[in-house]
Symmetry: D4
Subunit: 252 residues, 8 copies
């Protein structure tokens, strides 16, 4: 760890973005721990303010257990594991202090008790069926320390449901707009607010939906400005980006 | 022409759907005239209430001229030729009484002076760039005897433009909703009205629009009910269907 | 509920589109009921003449139960739930007066005993395998009060089966043409009738069918006029639109 | 040339599939002539009964001239060059005895005066716009010595035009069915005849036609049996295959 | 049944294409039998020389049983049912004299004992994994009365396996070339033979094979002439077409 | 304009986001001006802090001239017109005070002399060929009042070019990462910085690039967190979103 | 076996590429053994230095058993069977001396005890989830006699993990770069090394990954030179090619 | 330039891969020269043995001129510029010593007079139309110092043309197999040789070729082992990789 990095670290401690214990672990830790099948990057928290997130899909029980063990032993907190089944979560719970949302298929290991939540991220969904993806975004954002407001089932087919919640939308610092099928929700929201919007297409639908392609294309082609898009069903990614934007500070 | 067909024809004369002159021509005409490269179906008007429409694209000057000549010689009126260039229209104007819209690229030969226009078809467009397709639909519908209300540039990115015209939309008997890019307009209209909606995706856009694919998929996946879709840029088709629906009579 | 809406409501009572009991519930009900994961729009019946339809796929047992409960408690009748499994239907039957079609995977809650069925919607299928989608359309249309004629297995490969039923087709007020594989049925029907046709591509087929894409593209590119298309396997949507068209009244 | 090949050759002379002059050239010719940029296969006529066909697209003037020169110098007759522009044809006409169809974009060099034409290939087209592809097939088949009957503009949107020509179709030995847009023509023909059908999708159409993809998929998914398909706009290929089938002899 | 049809029928009896018993049944049978969910076309045998083939996929046990019963009661023989599972076949075997190939997933009901097999259809496969599709083609062709030669696992990656069987290929009247993955087999065969080739792409492969798309596109773009293509995995279709071509008679 | 909107407006005047003159115009202006083919939304500036942007493609000279005239007459400044040709720009320059970038194909009408530029947006490009899209983003962002740093030709094929500019990247408040071909640039940047990244795929490339599809898919599937994506070649959209994020203020 | 082939064989014996026992079997063996459903090519080892590899997917137990039996009886060693399940492997283990990797789903029959491993192939993976494909490549390459270095989880999102292993990469003779999701790994490696790189896209990912399409397109469009690509998930193919390149000898 | 890099450089001088003059320039040159719109990487030659190649498409005259000027001023030789038009080449020829191939659209600046060409790369093409891509590969490989053998028009439709050149193929150290349409050439070559094969799909073809997609998919799915693939029409890439493989040295 070079001088600039240590300085950076100390600044993060000062701003309470990182606890002194975590800082200590970081200073002592090797840059990267090599487990053979995985190389854990312990400096990511330094570089990016958030420790490594674990993409759970396609990893074996043993791989997940070992990766988490290493991170826990370095004193990391709020370790996020995405896209794991209930069964996998149950297995991991034997070994770790783990919270799991079966709906969002996301687990948090070593969750800190009382994270202060700040700012205002509104997560809007087109329908009830999109909620699992919304929750993945919501839990990610909350775990990273953001206030989240859930505004579900406000799809464009019943525009009044959306319009009667305009205030909530206009008070947001960032909006995550989640929709399947035709994916028109972000476009309509885009016309009423002036904050950044993260659009999340979902694979909800059938037929010419082609597993979310229709919603994805719709969102990429939005004629509303101020919208950017993440992968189909990528609730985690949206929550992560919203965290970064929500925590922006004023230009000095 | 069998007995039932003649009866049908006479009923159409009675209801003024067809003039006595046209009826005469129909009765005398052979069922189909074979020009070699084209077989003109003179009984279509009997079967479907509208004479054969000519798809102008990919036809040569000479083919178009001959087909129209045959129809004119049988005393047909309001012959519609779609998708022809200004240049082709100028060529045909030498020979026929022809009206042309360069924007919609549609021509009418032997237009009747004062067709009574009935009912109420509203044509709404997402943006200014979609207007050529709208006009193809509008001119088709007007030529077939329908009242048309044009409501252009009311796309979802500025939802207030649409909502301030709710009355107009709710008074329609049929709505043609035309949009490119994300194609969300029909979905939003679908939530406010209770009449049939014909959605027309346009190829307006760029990049992941893929020449209208994004709007097409969006419209097919609409979560609003009451929407059916025609081919990309098919303004003519939408005008034709709207004509049929607009002229529906009450269940006896 | 403002003055115009109440007036509208009373008109619907007068025309028997809505019962006095339902009208009462509507007047008393809040515009939208917020269950958190769902926002039920009680005024949809006012705006669109049909109460909210429930898309059953991807909703949990509990979500479905609660949504239906809310609607039943507001005295709604003929509540349609689409795309639910036999197992889900069995669960819901414990709590509600529910009719289920395992073939069409559609359920009706609080079905009114003797709905008068009017008009004439013909549902034609290309093959035997398309029948589940046809039945989804048929049950939707019947529940909404339409007469339905089923004309199954009349695909274009044996054109005589279709032609020997021309009368039935020509008497229809609306036709729903359902086909998988090459999806040519609506095109052929389009050449013989003069009423609006709703084309429904199905995912029946294999190989280069690509889950219904071949039928969808075929129908969108039909050279017959008067055809509009809904999503692959969207029997419900076709039934819903056919209802709107079938019930059109004459131009005043 | 080994013994079997010479025997084969003599048999072809006997059956008049090949003239004695051509046979002589073949016996004397090297198997393959190498021009560097092209390797002309002089034994193809022996193996396949037809000399090498030249795909004109993407070849330079000089390459075409040299390839044809070589073939002419070996005394080949009826050399077919497909997909060349009028301009290229004019250039080649300086050097060779060449017949060109601008519609079909096909040229024949060293055409024999009076080829006897046998059998019966019917070429049916959906519309007028498909005729250039039909003509590519027709000229290919005629050049190879087949009788061709042209039945154009009999698309399924006006099924009566097709049905009134049933006799012509039922007398065919092979049918080439050419159609763009929804490409349903071969399916309907497939239900009325009992001979092999070659389906040719064309790129005629717009929007969701995707340059012939809709017609191609439609034809591949036909529920009529007895249909096989060639590439989009491949009139030549269809004519070539039809030639082979038309000339089949009875099982001994 | 009109005069011409009866004449046709009698000619078929004379040529032994149809037995007197079958002819009797046909004469007595109504043109089409309507089971509600299926309309069986009893004149198909007259029009096309082969009775209706049953596409088994997506049909229920009861539908299959009833359709077959009707056909058996009309004395039809060699009734082909494609794409049915072992389980379905076992169910049907309770009621009918049924032969089943689990590999090809094809069943024959009321198989005639000693059909004379004529001509020569060669079925070549690229690999061992393509054999189920080959067998569907082979059993179809054999049931329709054709001699079939099986030449399996001769894919282009080991060109010597193919070349050492050139004689077999050159003696064929028709070749069915079946291949998955890159689907190059028909192209190579196309260069060595002079008979019609039916190419069948299979869904064998993985990754960028996209369920047979790679083989399908490869075959449609073959630079060998004389090849036409059927749907992915459509062994039945290939066998059916090969039957028609194999049985062609000499031009009179 | 209701009370809240006026308050909002006055706050924007106070924060110098809007000049007193502009505020005056807004207060006096009607909400929406209807030109028939376009409905200009004058309150967008109130709702979203930026006046309506004009998408120039597919609009006629006259439409553009009239829309701009209306906006200029309402005293709007810094009116952005995207995607117009040099020729169109020259036509418009006759009537308006217009600045044009031929590389970015973007025009600014009524540009204010000295806009204070704030914050720090870094625009990185993969290659030299991506610069036109970068410039569209850069000019948009600068016109909206942001400082922009251009870091061009730092694609991943020469990772050292990127790494030697790490400081510049780490000092950014927002990064716009623009790349064609494989589109890997945002992923690599995503691993080194902790600010939001807007990824812009470009259509630069050939073959299996499919007009930008490869870069688009690559960016949507990035395994770096913190990246969201806009449409292919949508430099304007990226600049617009970056403006919103760059101007975020601290959570109060 | 002709003279040249025998000479070739003896040279391979001399270079120890083949054992005297294997050579004996080859000399005695027929060129091709025909099992009906498979034609085993015993000369492949002569022509290509490696005996036939068995693609296990879609082959039955019995087919696999018989093919392996034939090869074992001819004294072949190190027979590779790819893509077989644990269950199949267990079945085969009853009959053969078989080693199986459940992760890579690859089996080796008649493995030679101590194959000398030469050269240096580095296999790098983007993530932990890509390891099964890496192992397929690794085991293939090792079985063919190559030294393999595994460098896993060095994806571009944490570029430092890759850069800290530059030495290992620069010492490779060939690199196999395996990545899913955005597939950017080969591009970055391509900028640091000067040896051939084989890129392997994997189907790891979700949503707009489309089963590996995103990684495949990314790799095909790499702006780094020196990269060629194999099919999605084709670890075997990559290992096989790497073997050929690794064993290249100097130009004489 | 650090110690290791200098050592590396000196080794390359020793092996004559680089001239002393070039080495001198490299040592003196800055790592990267920043032209604003381009960052030229002068150490690429050190790292990869070949100086930066210029992708000419989408670069302006001025950009190309300046980039080449900078490289020439550093004494680089054999600078390759791909994909430039004849017109651009003519412009650049005013300023530089430039050789241009209009067929391959490739230019070489500062070509060294007598580069020794080593090894043996065979470039095979399916047809005459593929030659421009072949030449791009050939000129690239020759400029980098490789012997190239051109074997054109040996596509699989006439397999004898290929087989009669087996010796040439079997003597190659690397083969570049170039083909459009069905792209089967590499598969067949793959079965006869034991050296690495680089497959290059071309966009030659029409219809379902989809601009080279058919050939690309075919090559990726080849069942021959030993084949890897580059982008559609990427002759340059193939030549570059072949250079690396051809110059491999024996394992020490």
């Amino acid at each position: 760890m070079n001088k600039a990095e240590v300085l950076n670290l100390l600044n993060q401690v000062k701003k309470s973005k990182i606890s002194p214990q975590e800082a200590l672990s970081l200073i002592k830790a090797p840059h990267i721990e090599d487990l053979g099948y995985a190389k854990i990057d312990y400096h990511r928290q330094l570089r990016q303010g958030v420790c490594e997130i674990i993409f759970g899909e396609n990893k074996t029980y043993q791989q997940l257990k070992n990766i988490i063990s290493s991170m826990v032993s370095k004193n990391f907190k709020n370790i996020i594991i995405t896209r794991i089944s209930l069964q996998t979560a149950k297995f991991l719970k034997f070994f770790f202090d783990l919270t799991y949302s079966p709906q969002a298929r996301i687990a948090i290991v070593a969750k800190t008790k009382k994270t202060k939540k700040v700012g205002n991220i509104v997560i809007a969904s087109g329908g009830t069926s999109d909620i699992p993806i919304c929750e993945e975004a919501a839990i990610t954002a909350e775990t990273l320390g953001n206030k989240v407001y859930r505004l579900y089932d406000v799809g464009v087919a019943g525009i009044h449901r959306l319009l009667s919640n305009q205030k909530i939308l206009q008070n947001a610092r960032v909006i995550i707009a989640v929709a399947g099928m035709e994916g028109a929700l972000p476009s309509v929201i885009g016309g009423i607010v002036d904050c950044p919007i993260i659009a999340v297409p979902t694979s909800i639908g059938y037929g010419a939906n082609f597993n979310g392609l229709s919603a994805l294309l719709c969102m990429l082609n939005s004629c509303s400005s101020g919208i950017s898009v993440v992968n189909i069903d990528n609730g985690f990614g949206a929550g992560y980006i919203a965290n970064r934007i929500n925590k922006m500070e004023s230009i000095k």
